[in-house]
């Protein structure tokens, strides 16, 4: 399941953000008549379609895996958290329908209807992502039921949708999807542009993708700050694990780097900024932060080092992208534009993977950070797993399958979406009448 999710999250992110870029490109084409934008829209739509198809099948696998791997969780919680999944089903259906119209309907519906279909794909992609994250946020802050003898009673599925973690998790994940996709697309095109600097195709692609990525990268630290404060309030043990904070007390330091030593109960080799954690969380250096020592050890997230390091990687990658975004905006304000600075373009090329790295790290932060619980404070992961013997076989099978798919998709994306268009391709495009 972890493997499937780690795989699926990449496709979901690109599948959410790519349609937006494709619609923007088509809209620019309709406004300007510049055929490079049309080519870009077509290329990106193929990318979105491949991503959507693989995202759809890996999402199908996930919806079954909920039952295949966690039958006890589903038996217990199905009635409570089925709602966001049902709604997601409809959003997903809408996306599939209009993607079909978008992909195969270039010459079957009017340009305006076509653009509208693309916009519906982009919107329903975001909405379905939001519903899935809502289900995840419920596992962090379970509400909408009363525990009676270990069973849920008085189930209220609507309350699930408005659980306390829903807002900050969905905002953070949605921005992350745009940020990661914007940066990976802009970065790869930047690498191509560096080799072929007159190529308008890469220029236009970078302009759109970097705009999307940069706006998201600048919003993300604000959303991250809000999320961290919400987690401190809702799941204090999680923030202690993020920071590797063992001791409870005021003037809690903000740790940069470091390796948590569980036996010695201290964080080694870290740069500590005194009182900063208290200040950032409660805006008050005297505020008391709960450390891991105030929780029973069998409730500690494990492995602690994974949570701590993933958190550092996520935040580090996030700030690096925000810095690149600021640099780009500064260049743009000085009117010479980002393409005048070779060093900026090189940096952009290097920062291509940062967003996806941050997404994967962030996923580790929230999922491993919730362990040992599958439903925070209510059900332990070990109690939810299927009794099926030989799960290792299932796991290996899925891993091989995903590895194979990942390699194939990466290859196809390269060939279909990123690579410089050949002159025949441009001629063919113009011949169709664009």
């Amino acid at each position: 399941m972890a493997m499937s999710l780690a795989f699926h999250i990449v496709f979901a992110c690109v599948g959410i953000a790519m349609p937006l870029m494709m619609v923007v490109a088509e809209w620019r084409y309709l406004r300007t008549g510049d055929e490079v934008y049309l080519l870009l829209a077509r290329r990106w739509s193929i990318g979105a379609a491949i991503m959507f198809a693989v995202g759809a099948v890996s999402g199908t696998v996930l919806s079954f895996e909920l039952g295949l791997l966690w039958p006890n969780f589903m038996r217990w919680a199905g009635a409570i958290i089925g709602m966001p999944f049902s709604l997601e089903g409809f959003a997903f259906f809408t996306e599939a329908i209009f993607l079909g119209i978008y992909m195969y309907g270039w010459d079957r519906v009017s340009p305006r209807a076509h653009l509208a279909a693309g916009a519906i794909v982009a919107a329903s992609g975001v909405i379905s992502g939001i519903f899935v994250v809502i289900a995840n946020s419920w596992m962090n802050t379970p509400v909408g039921f009363r525990l009676v003898n270990g069973r849920p009673e008085d189930i209220n599925p609507i309350a699930t949708l408005t659980n306390p973690a829903a807002l900050h998790e969905t905002v953070h994940m949605t921005i992350a999807a745009y940020c990661a996709t914007g940066f990976v697309v802009a970065g790869i095109h930047a690498a191509m542009w560096l080799r072929d600097r007159d190529n308008l195709f890469h220029r236009r692609a970078i302009a759109i993708a970097f705009t999307v990525g940069a706006i998201a990268a600048l919003l993300q630290p604000i959303s991250g700050d809000a999320s961290a404060r919400a987690v401190a309030r809702l799941q204090p043990i999680k923030i202690a694990a993020f920071e590797g904070l063992f001791q409870t007390g005021p003037h809690a330091p903000l740790a940069i780097g470091g390796i948590p030593d569980v036996k010695a109960r201290r964080l080694r080799y870290a740069i500590e900024l005194p009182s900063m954690l208290s200040i950032m969380t409660y805006h008050n250096p005297d505020a008391v932060m709960r450390g891991l020592d105030s929780f029973p050890e069998n409730d500690w997230p494990s492995p602690l080092i994974a949570v701590h390091l993933a958190f550092q990687i996520m935040v580090g990658a996030g700030f690096a992208m925000a810095a690149v975004a600021l640099w780009g905006i500064w260049l743009w304000l000085r009117r010479r534009g980002i393409f005048a600075s070779i060093w900026f373009m090189r940096t952009l090329a290097i920062s291509a993977p940062l967003g996806l790295v941050a997404v994967e790290a962030g996923w580790v932060v929230t999922e491993v950070g919730r362990q040992p619980w599958i439903i925070y404070g209510v059900m332990r992961t070990a109690d939810a797993v299927t009794p099926m013997p030989g799960l290792g076989v299932t796991f290996t099978l899925y891993s091989l399958l995903y590895l194979f798919l990942g390699v194939t998709v990466a290859f196809l994306m390269w060939r279909q979406v990123i690579e410089s268009p050949t002159s025949e391709e441009i001629e063919a495009l113009l011949a169709v009448g664009g």
Partner: protein
């Protein structure tokens, strides 16, 4: 016994039916790609690919909705099925993944001919195996008697390793291939291609009939509840006659080349078969102890789910109708002016 429960159970059945009629036929198209024969094999493959290209992803979502409604509306049944069916479901998912990705890689990938043929082969084989396994799982659900607390390896094998389950698997495969052949005959404007698929449809219709008889006999031991339901209830004969009438009407329409009519009759036939199964199994989700009444979610969840499904249908059905209208209804008009659905790769 609330209205919401009936509504949710009804929507579940309707969803499953729509999946069989649309997504099932898409699998069937893959099967015919594997068995594309004769001088027009290439054209046959092209027709099949064009027919499912724009719609298969949307068709596939019916299955996701079935799963989601099952685990939202009937969590205990979902948990037990998914535990006991771990092995066939896992294998089926491999099939789902391979088929979907292979199809999109082939459609959108600018690969050379050899690579395209290879993806096509993977797509076709996965289209053959996936419905077989889906049928096996349905067969096991119809048999019931899934262990409530499985722990030995055999508990995960015996519920579906029976002649009845594999009979249902073959039955599903044959039905889907039959639907695909009928649809293909109805959709093409080319008379020779229509004739190719007419023959295939007639042959597969006869095979469906044969397997149906065999599965019915196997159910005496494999799924006594179903056997009893199909033979000893009030509605037994009406359902039987209706299904037979639809099957014969479809056959007659095929014989006389009334393909649009054949499509309606074949769809009705498959829908009636599914409903006959559902009625025979009613009120059980899983024999002997899980019924739609005692394995359902609490009333409040069901009520909200029912309203969500109703609201979702308001968005979904017009959109789905629009999709079919854009790609299916205008085919004949297009053919008249020499236009056909352009697959995206033909643009470049």
């Amino acid at each position: 016994m609330s209205l919401a429960l009936w509504f949710v159970a009804g929507v579940l059945l309707v969803n499953l039916t729509l999946y069989a009629l649309t997504g099932g036929a898409d699998y069937g198209s893959g099967v015919w790609e594997l068995f594309a024969l004769g001088p027009r094999a290439g054209e046959q493959r092209e027709l099949l690919t064009r027919a499912i290209g724009p719609v298969w992803e949307a068709d596939h979502v019916w299955l996701i909705l079935v799963v989601v409604i099952l685990f939202n509306g009937f969590p205990p049944a979902f948990a037990r099925i998914m535990t006991a069916m771990h092995v066939p479901v896992t294998l089926m998912l491999v099939g789902v993944v391979m088929r979907g990705s292979a199809f999109s890689f082939r459609s959108y990938g600018l690969c050379d001919d050899r690579a395209r043929r290879r993806w096509g082969r993977i797509f076709a084989i996965a289209s053959l195996i996936t419905p077989l396994l889906l049928g096996v799982i349905i067969g096991a659900i119809a048999s019931g008697r899934m262990p409530a607390n499985p722990h030995r390896l055999s508990d995960f094998i015996t519920p579906w390793m029976t002649p009845f389950c594999f009979g249902v698997g073959l039955f599903a495969l044959a039905m889907f291939a039959y639907l695909a052949a009928v649809y293909a005959a109805a959709e093409t404007a080319d008379a020779t291609l229509a004739a190719d698929f007419r023959i295939r449809a007639i042959i597969s219709s006869l095979i469906v009939g044969l397997i149906a008889g065999a599965v019915l006999l196997l159910s005496i031991r494999g799924a006594p509840l179903i056997w009893n339901g199909l033979t000893h209830r009030v509605w037994t004969w009406p359902i039987f006659w209706l299904t037979s009438a639809a099957a014969l009407a479809a056959l007659w329409a095929l014989w006389t080349r009334r393909f649009a009519l054949a499509r309606i009759c074949a769809a009705a036939q498959v829908a009636l078969i599914l409903w006959g199964w559902a009625l025979a199994q009613y009120p059980y989700l899983l024999e002997p102890d899980l019924t739609i009444f005692n394995a359902s979610a609490p009333p409040r969840t069901l009520a909200i789910l029912a309203s969500a499904l109703a609201a979702g249908a308001l968005i979904l059905l017009p959109s789905y109708g629009y999709l079919l209208a854009v790609f299916k209804r205008r085919r004949r008009a297009d053919a008249a002016v020499g236009l056909e659905t352009q697959a995206p790769e033909s643009v470049f």
